[in-house]
């Protein structure tokens, strides 16, 4: 016999706790079950042909940039390069949807987005080359430093967008992160802050299948990464990350939404990293050729090229033109990267604090003496008074 059935006992009628009411209707926030596509669908008819051609030219250039940068690692001109080959559609769309006043927050793999936004290709590589951490002024280009720790740049994007709105500026921040980065605490905190503050931010997750070697299934148990948005109270959008027109459209809508003051959006672009994690990684240890080949058939450059040639917006001459433009970019990059950067070791102390501490001044003086001694003795031989006399 249960308690409720005791003779004479009043039936228990459960009621919700007094404070409970749903904060947000989840239905409009849920992503579609299939990644949104434009190329090869009816939606392409609504896309500006000029935009498609521009995306194509940038994609071809981006593909060539990735190949050239990877080649530079083999020549010892770059310390490391995390290629975004296969992901160019995400990189290019992220750069092209932003207005000049907007901000881009790239991760370490997003050199291409920074270059497509207008950053000097050599300046964009200083981190990976190893001569300085950030070779450009972030404020000048509205591109945050390429971020090596995972997802830590996302709260920065939120704070910046929030600050811009407080100042009355019509600025949107677009922050890029990989599928692995979505497991980090900073991803969660950034999305939560953005939604609570209704900050004008767009989060773009490039789900390229692997966090170095760990596949998505070992990264998350969520239906999709876009579904995570619902828990924060922001819309989640799922898009085919190899379809440049689709990524551009979805990101444009998210940026417009942010600009209208309607808050952040989480966009998951489903894509694939065709190369290894970096030139130092061996991808054959964790994935088979057949999987890579299946994705090769869905290559972002080829599917856009087919769409454009099929619609007679592009011919062999146009393809060759894009290829030549990319070659010129690569040749310029090669040439400039082959010159040794001129570095001043005293820069090591120049930008630790606004004003050097006495301790740093002492250390800088010591290095100066060492450098002068090196200069006096190019053969490396030391003399008794080599440094002491200064």
């Amino acid at each position: 016999m249960t308690v409720q059935e005791l003779p004479g006992a009043a039936a228990y009628r459960p009621t919700p706790p007094p404070a409970w009411k749903p904060l947000t209707d989840p239905a409009p926030l849920l992503p579609d079950p299939e990644p949104y596509r434009v190329l090869g669908t009816d939606a392409v008819a609504d896309t500006d042909p000029e935009l498609l051609l521009r995306l194509y030219a940038e994609l071809v250039r981006g593909r060539r940039y990735n190949a050239q940068a990877t080649a530079l690692t083999k020549q010892g001109r770059l310390a490391v390069y995390p290629s975004s080959t296969g992901q160019e559609a995400c990189e290019i769309a992220a750069a092209l949807v932003l207005e000049e006043r907007d901000w881009l927050f790239p991760s370490y793999r997003d050199t291409l987005a920074a270059v497509a936004r207008g950053l000097d290709p050599v300046e964009a590589l200083t981190l990976l080359r190893g001569d300085r951490h950030t070779g450009y002024d972030p404020r000048e280009h509205r591109i945050a430093p390429l971020c090596t720790p995972l997802a830590t740049q996302l709260p920065h994007a939120v704070g910046l967008a929030h600050a811009a709105r407080l100042k009355g500026d019509d600025v949107v921040a677009l922050a890029m992160v990989g599928d692995g980065g979505t497991s980090e605490g900073d991803f969660h905190e950034a999305l939560n802050f953005a939604a609570v503050w209704r900050a004008p931010v767009v989060f773009l997750v490039q789900n390229n299948g692997f966090a170095i070697s760990v596949p998505l299934a070992k990264q998350t148990a969520a239906p999709s990464l876009a579904h995570k948005a619902v828990g924060y109270g922001m819309p989640g959008r799922l898009v085919d990350g190899n379809d440049a027109a689709a990524v551009h459209q979805v990101l444009s809508e998210a940026v417009s939404r942010a600009r209208r003051g309607e808050g952040p959006t989480l966009v998951e672009a489903v894509t694939y990293r065709m190369d290894a994690h970096t030139n130092a990684d061996d991808a054959t240890r964790y994935r088979g050729d057949s999987e890579v080949e299946a994705w090769r058939a869905h290559d972002p450059v080829r599917i856009l090229e087919r769409e454009l040639t099929g619609r007679r917006l592009l011919d062999d001459e146009g393809i060759e033109e894009a290829r030549m433009a990319a070659e010129r970019m690569a040749a310029g990059l090669r040439e400039r990267m082959n010159a040794d950067p001129v570095l001043d070791p005293m820069d090591l102390f120049a930008h630790v604090y606004a004003e050097q501490t006495t301790q740093l001044r002492e250390q800088a003086a010591r290095l100066r003496v060492e450098l002068d001694a090196e200069h006096d003795q190019p053969d490396g031989l030391s003399t008794d008074d080599g440094g002491a006399r200064r």
Partner: protein, 343 residues
Amino acid sequence: MTTAAATAGERTAKAKPATMAQALGRALRDSMAEDPSVHVLGEDVGTLGGVFRITDGLAKEFGDARCTDTPLAEAGILGAAVGMAMYGLRPVVEMQFDAFAYPAFEQLISHVAKMRNRTGGAMPLPITVRVPYGGGIGGVEHHSDSSEAYYMATPGLHVVTPATVEDAYGLLRASIASDDPVVFLEPKRLYWSKADWSPQAPSAVEPIGRAVVRRPGRSATLITYGPSLPVCMEAAEAAVEEGWDLEVVDLRSLVPFDDETVAASVRRTGRAVVVHESTGFGGPGGEIAARITERCFHHLEAPVLRVAGFDIPYPPPMQERHHLPGVDRVLDAVARLQWEADS
């Protein structure tokens, strides 16, 4: 000066007893009033005025947009502050308790401390991170840590800690005005310490990085900061009976470190004890003792001694009095400074 002006001046300059907590709140208020780019953010800093009431009244006076209750997430708070500073604001972040700041360590170490350096000076981050720190208030675990050594070990951060009501005001003003990030450690057991202080005519704003001699003396130097300053002052008074005339140096800033003031004092006295309540092993005292030895070896009459907390996780409140260095432990160290005579 006319009579009316003199009266007004006297009225505004009149010093009354004020607590360190009040002086800190006043520093925040004055900084916000003076500079519209100063924003306060943290957990409970708005309506509640902070759990220690340091931010009391700021949300009311300046609005939610400038004194903001954030979600409960320290990495998010500091990370957002980084973005705000990138856009030209001057955020002042409150970490509710010392150990609550640990989730924000990656933001602090990887971004706050390094942004100026990473960007070749193009993007300095004028962020002040206020951390109530240290024990002695009967807090349960994770509410009494002395975390200064972690911050000191990170280039790019200033580490500042006031010990007096005047310095609480002046150093916080200087920290907020600094173009570099400052970890501002507030000795929470001194929040309710009082001094005659006039918020209407506040004391001079000291530049960050200068130590001060709180008590001149000739026989030995006690080097300390923050919560241990009152302990050292009391010990110095008590030592007079033993024939010791102790000098007390209040560091006020751990980074940058004022080698000059410390070395000058030790050269005068020939003996030094470093006193702090954080752990001794790997603690600030080791660094300070090494710096003194490097600079003052020939002036030293005895080894530089350290009086620190034990090398244990911060103890439960009913045991903390055994851990915290008190007057007796300082005096015991001072007695050991007769090392040369004994050996």
